[in-house]
């Protein structure tokens, strides 16, 4: 492998080496030394993130199966930053006594799914795409069932593996029909010969259904809340942010490159699903009392907003989706980070436990408030711009009614996001959660979320960088 090839696929190669290295290091650690794995992994992953940012040309490898460009590298770097924050935040939870012996498993499973997402994002044909998708979902089920002595965790695991296996089965059936009608599995070739014959449209619908399961769009969202509630908090934040972000990236790429010839058709489907996803996600989020379940429905509603950018169907749409996912990573990880810190320190996860949190833990409450504002899209913070660009993209495609419905939904979502803020600042509570101090690494993770929420809101260059990269891709 020459140095240019290495630079082209350095994300995948380095992370694979890293995962194997963790296995070897873990073998050589004695039982009471196991906790050294956390700083080792953090340092190694930090190096990986930095190497990921090195400038490199895109390229095509393995005869067109693997394609990467500056845009996909940008996507991978965004995911890297999110995973870095999650690793910081999971420190407190991993150091608990029952996780002592299986710390390294958490890292290996997490990195395996991340490798799968890398391959999925830079796939050039459906075979690589399918492999990446499965590598990204199968270890995820093991992660969901990580605390194996808890029945809820096991339940989350089985619900995730069964629904994702069913969805990839449906997706695969669609792929087999696409192969049968076009004779190719390469994105470029299929994009050239794809027409609107009935069998191909059927194939597309199967494919769309499978992908909608993965991103948890509304008629296919029923697994989401249960899996999010049952899994450990840090794993949940990984599901809702990184895996959803990666799946939306590849979804946009495939819709724009492979299925562009039937875009008049999928735009109608996406329209309907966007409306139902936003509305149902919002309505169900209102009545949730468990914080993880609440954030699960809020993440379903946010996925509906992502569809708005897809409908734009141009460079603006692509840019707005990537920018929104970047903003969403920071705001949602801020919220999940607070939930994880409180859950690790006290074991409480219900919204009623958050009553009067400001009196005892003002800093955590402040970060939670900022994240909620960012998720709801209130101007000074980054979330506003994320939503704003998505709405602009949809409006540029002429979908004014959809934008109107989305604005209504954003207003409705403000209600339940502010419920959390109200609980922390206004609700009276005789016995609020006791004051606690998180460990150093968790605080680093939380502070970087807070910085991200602010910096992305005020530093407009990042949007222009993404935009300049998006122009390069051809639809």
């Amino acid at each position: 492998m020459s140095i240019t090839d290495f630079l082209t696929m350095r994300h995948e190669v380095l992370l694979t080496i890293l995962a194997i290295l963790i296995l070897i290091i873990d073998l050589n650690l004695k039982k009471e030394q196991k906790h050294y794995i956390i700083p080792i992994v953090l340092c190694l992953f930090m190096v990986h993130v930095i190497i990921g940012f090195l400038p490199a040309e895109g390229g095509v490898l393995f005869g067109g199966m693997y394609k990467t460009s500056a845009l996909t590298m940008m996507m991978k770097n965004i995911l890297n930053v999110g995973v870095m924050i999650i690793l910081f935040q999971s420190n407190g939870w991993l150091r608990k006594p029952d996780n002592q012996e299986k710390m390294s498993e958490y890292f290996i499973l997490l990195f395996s799914t991340l490798i799968g997402m890398y391959f999925m994002i830079s796939s050039g044909d459906f075979l690589m795409f399918y492999l990446g998708l499965e590598l990204a979902t199968i270890p995820m089920a093991a992660l969901a069932a990580y605390t194996h002595h808890q029945s809820r965790s096991a339940e989350a695991g089985i619900k995730l593996i069964l629904s994702s296996a069913l969805s990839s089965g449906i997706l695969l059936f669609g792929l087999s029909l696409i192969y049968g009608t076009t004779g190719s599995i390469y994105f470029d070739k299929i994009g050239e010969v794809f027409t609107n014959s009935p069998l191909q449209i059927l194939a597309f619908i199967f494919f769309f259904t499978g992908m909608a399961f993965k991103i948890s769009l509304v008629p296919f969202h029923l697994w989401t809340a249960d899996v999010y509630e049952g899994s450990p908090v840090n794993v949940t934040s990984y599901f809702s942010v990184i895996s959803k972000g990666a799946a939306s990236f590849i979804f946009v790429i495939i819709l724009f490159t492979v299925f562009h010839s039937i875009s008049y058709l999928w735009k109608d489907i996406v329209y309907l699903i966007a409306v139902s996803t936003m509305t149902v996600g919002n309505l169900f989020a209102m009545r949730q009392k468990n914080m993880k379940r609440f954030l699960a429905f809020s993440s379903i509603a946010q996925a509906g907003f992502i569809l708005l950018g897809i409908l734009g169907g141009n460079v603006l749409g692509m840019t707005s989706v990537i920018y929104f996912v970047l903003v969403y990573i920071f705001s949602n990880l801020g919220a999940f980070g607070v939930v994880a810190a409180i859950s690790a320190a006290t074991g409480k996860e219900s919204m009623d436990d958050y009553d009067g949190l400001y009196a005892t833990n003002p800093k955590l409450s402040l970060l939670m408030t900022l994240s909620m504002f960012s998720l709801a899209g209130i101007p000074p913070v980054a979330g506003f711009f994320g939503k704003f660009f998505l709405f602009t993209a949809a409006a540029s495609g002429g979908y004014y009614w959809l934008v109107f419905i989305a604005v209504l939904n954003a207003t409705v979502s403000l209600y339940y996001y502010l419920l959390v803020v109200k609980a922390m600042f206004i609700n009276k509570n005789e016995t609020p959660l006791a004051h606690f101090k998180s460990d150093f690494l968790t605080r680093v993770g939380l502070v970087s979320c807070m910085l991200g929420i602010f910096v992305l809101g005020f530093w407009s260059q990042i949007y222009e960088i993404i935009n300049s990269l998006s122009i390069g891709i051809t639809f």
């Binding site: 075979l127 199968i138 089985i158 296996a165 792929l175 004779g183 049952g230």
Partner: protein, 105 residues
């Protein structure tokens, strides 16, 4: 070699298998049987890929490769799913999906 059995027969079989799999997944209450239904779905996909490749595009092999990889991935999926099912059995003393309902609306 080809031509004795038309392609249509394979497609009918695979479509039937696919929908039997979906039906089984939705109606069966036993986790292992649900997993078997998923295997049916994946095997119907394999039949599709191999049949399309053999009859329509014999000059390439991508359909065969795809079905080989689907088999391998299905094995990995089944391994993880069965491991979780064993864990479910230890926690719930049952592998009936109706019993695994701690979390719902």
């Amino acid at each position: 070699m080809t031509g004795t059995i038309p392609l249509m027969y394979f497609l009918v079989i695979s479509t039937l298998m696919f929908f039997i799999g979906i039906y089984g997944f939705l109606t069966r209450r036993n986790l292992i049987t649900m997993l078997m239904s998923i295997e049916l779905i994946l095997n119907s996909v394999n039949i599709n890929f191999v049949a399309f490749n053999k009859y329509l595009y014999p000059q390439h092999l991508s359909g065969h490769f795809f079905s080989l990889i689907v088999i391998a991935v299905a094995a990995a999926e089944a391994a993880v799913a069965i491991a979780i099912i064993i864990n479910i059995y230890r926690n719930f003393k049952s592998i009936d999906v109706d019993k695994v309902d701690q979390m719902r609306y």
